[in-house]
């Protein structure tokens, strides 16, 4: 069944979009991430302009992270203070990101920037995650005990001033790196149309040493608020949020996420990380190949001013 998207201005098959939403939702539920890094490229692939895709996916991620955040909140797996400090940075980063997005769009380099950031971010994060998962798996196979949180090992991050005690996470940490991480996630989220969960979770675990019990719930709160904020900003400044597209994605996404979460519980942690790493790496490589090979058409048209 065809449906006409009012902002993207193209007709799409409603079941295709629902299926895409459900498939990405399944992956996001399985790994505890928003899935924007898969959704945005898929939408671009079916012919929706990158700008509309990025803006609409923001609201879709907000929906799936809200349903996730509610269940983590019930299980008391969210650190409110840590979430609040991350958010301070997240809001600043998002505002910067939407501003950059608008500027790049006027310059005609938005598509390139989106593609380049995907390549850089996805191959790095995917590669690291894959490597880490592989090592963990080998260690388990050799029977070596693993402690992901080496207590007592203090890096340079722990020497920073303005330390605060985050009670629920049981950590004592400076707010500077936390705010900085928030800015980074907010920025890439707004520019690339991703929630940033797949970057945030590793940073929180390995750099900030947040215990795994509160990591996913807290990161979901950050994703939720930055994506809501990004939706608002994209709607007000660029008028590019397609509410019809977003709604179909949301319905598919939240449903898929529930089944994904159940499937995820049956797989071992290091296997899950290995799979997620591979998936992220694959998307990144796909973008890289696309940039490197000669495009079918060297010319593109866009309505509006050259700026």
């Amino acid at each position: 069944m065809q449906i006409f998207l009012p902002i993207a201005d193209i007709p799409v098959n409603i079941f295709l979009i629902l299926a895409m939403g459900a498939a990405v939702g399944f992956v996001s539920g399985m790994f505890g991430i928003g899935g924007g890094f898969l959704m945005t490229p898929l939408l671009i692939f079916i012919g929706i302009t990158p700008a509309v895709a990025v803006a609409s996916v923001a609201s879709h991620i907000a929906a799936s992270s809200f349903s996730g955040a509610i269940s983590y909140w019930r299980r008391r797996a969210i650190d409110p203070l840590l979430a609040a400090v991350l958010l301070t940075g997240g809001i600043i980063g998002t505002a910067l990101g939407v501003w950059t997005f608008t500027e790049l769009r006027a310059l005609g380099q938005l598509d390139l920037m989106i593609a380049l950031s995907y390549v850089a971010l996805l191959t790095t994060v995917g590669g690291l995650m894959f490597w880490e998962g592989l090592r963990a798996m080998l260690r388990v196979r050799r029977g070596v005990a693993v402690s992901p949180r080496r207590s007592g090992s203090h890096g340079w991050i722990h020497g920073l001033p303005l330390k605060v005690r985050f009670k629920r996470s049981k950590i004592y940490l400076s707010v500077i790196p936390v705010v900085a991480v928030g800015v980074l996630i907010g920025f890439v989220g707004a520019v690339m149309g991703i929630g940033g969960g797949f970057i945030l979770i590793p940073i929180m675990i390995y750099l900030l040493r947040v215990p795994t019990s509160t990591v996913i719930g807290t990161s979901m709160v950050l994703t939720l608020v930055t994506m809501l904020f990004a939706t608002m900003l994209h709607a007000v400044t660029n008028h590019l949020v397609d509410a019809v597209l977003a709604l179909i994605l949301m319905v598919g996404g939240v449903t898929g996420a529930q089944f994904g979460a159940r499937a995820g519980q049956k797989i071992r942690g290091e296997h899950l990380r290995l799979l997620l790493g591979l998936l992220i790496l694959a998307v990144g490589i796909r973008f890289a190949v696309e940039l490197a090979i000669r495009p079918d058409d060297l010319f593109t048209i866009r309505e509006g001013d050259a700026g």
Binding site: I3, F66, M250, T300
Partner: protein, 263 residues
């Protein structure tokens, strides 16, 4: 825009003058009608085809020997500024480098005729009457100047080619069919991603390589109901629209957590 308008004005004035001077040469009249003057874009809109009907009315002053007519129908959609960019290989990757801006060009442009344009009129007449995609004025901003360029200019031809690939620009030199020597019809295909707005149809009648008469008609493509409502609000009430989308996201997230609650 103004240059084009004044050109049209001059053309009309010349024709009127000519009509008064030698009425016999302008004896035909074109009567046309389009099958639908208001095309509505609904949720399940996936393109459609309009039909343009018309007839050539002769009167007593029509030269008796004149029976063979040629028709050129030009349909042009709402005007917009467009930018064409060219990718080049830099630092090993393909990035946008050079660009040209097209000013107030039709977002949809279709040229239909009953036989190849070369057979209808001489290249000079084709250029003057803007017959065919190669001759329609597509104004570019070239540095400080505004001008159209030669048809085989790289940016112009890429622009026409890309629009054609989306079905938004087209030229069909056998699309107009004469049902009788004076009654004609042509289809106007509108693709799914057709721009919203007013479409002008210009019908030019030729005989023996010269313009005999011409007429114009128009139709509108409008979004109605829900699509229109969403599009207008997104543009005019960005803030409320954003709030609504946010609310929608929160509601569907909340609903999902209730529906799939395990405990």
């Amino acid at each position: 825009m103004t240059a084009r308008a004044s050109l049209v004005a001059i053309a009309v004035a010349t024709m009127l003058g000519a009509a008064f001077a030698i009425p016999a040469a302008r004896a035909e009249r074109l009567i046309v009608s389009v099958s639908n003057h208001r095309v509505t874009v609904t949720p399940n809109y996936s393109g459609e085809e309009l039909v343009l009907f018309g007839s050539v009315e002769k009167d007593a002053s029509t030269p008796a020997g004149r029976t063979a007519y040629d028709l050129v129908v030009t349909v042009s959609g709402p005007l917009a500024d467009m930018v064409t960019r060219r990718k080049e290989r830099k630092f090993g990757i393909w990035i946008n480098t050079d660009y040209r801006q097209f000013l107030q060009v039709p977002t949809y442009l279709a040229v239909f005729s009953n036989r190849p344009l070369e057979a209808v009129a001489s290249p000079e007449v084709q250029r003057r009457q803007q017959l065919g995609l190669n001759n329609v004025l597509l104004t570019q901003r070239v540095g400080p100047d505004y001008a159209d360029v030669v048809p085989n200019d790289a940016f112009r031809s890429a622009f026409v080619r890309l629009r054609s690939e989306h079905g938004l620009y087209r030229e069909a030199t056998s699309a107009v069919t004469f049902l009788t020597p004076t009654l004609f019809r042509t289809g106007i295909p509108l693709p799914a991603e057709v721009p919203i707005g007013t479409y002008n149809i210009e019908i030019k009648l030729f005989s023996g390589g010269a313009l005999v008469t011409h007429t114009e008609t128009a139709f509108d493509i409008v979004k109605v109901g829900f699509e229109q409502f969403v599009a207008t609000n997104a543009r005019q009430n960005g803030f409320v629209y954003g709030l609504f989308t946010v609310f929608m996201a929160l509601m569907s997230g909340w609903m999902a957590s209730i529906v799939f609650r395990k405990d």
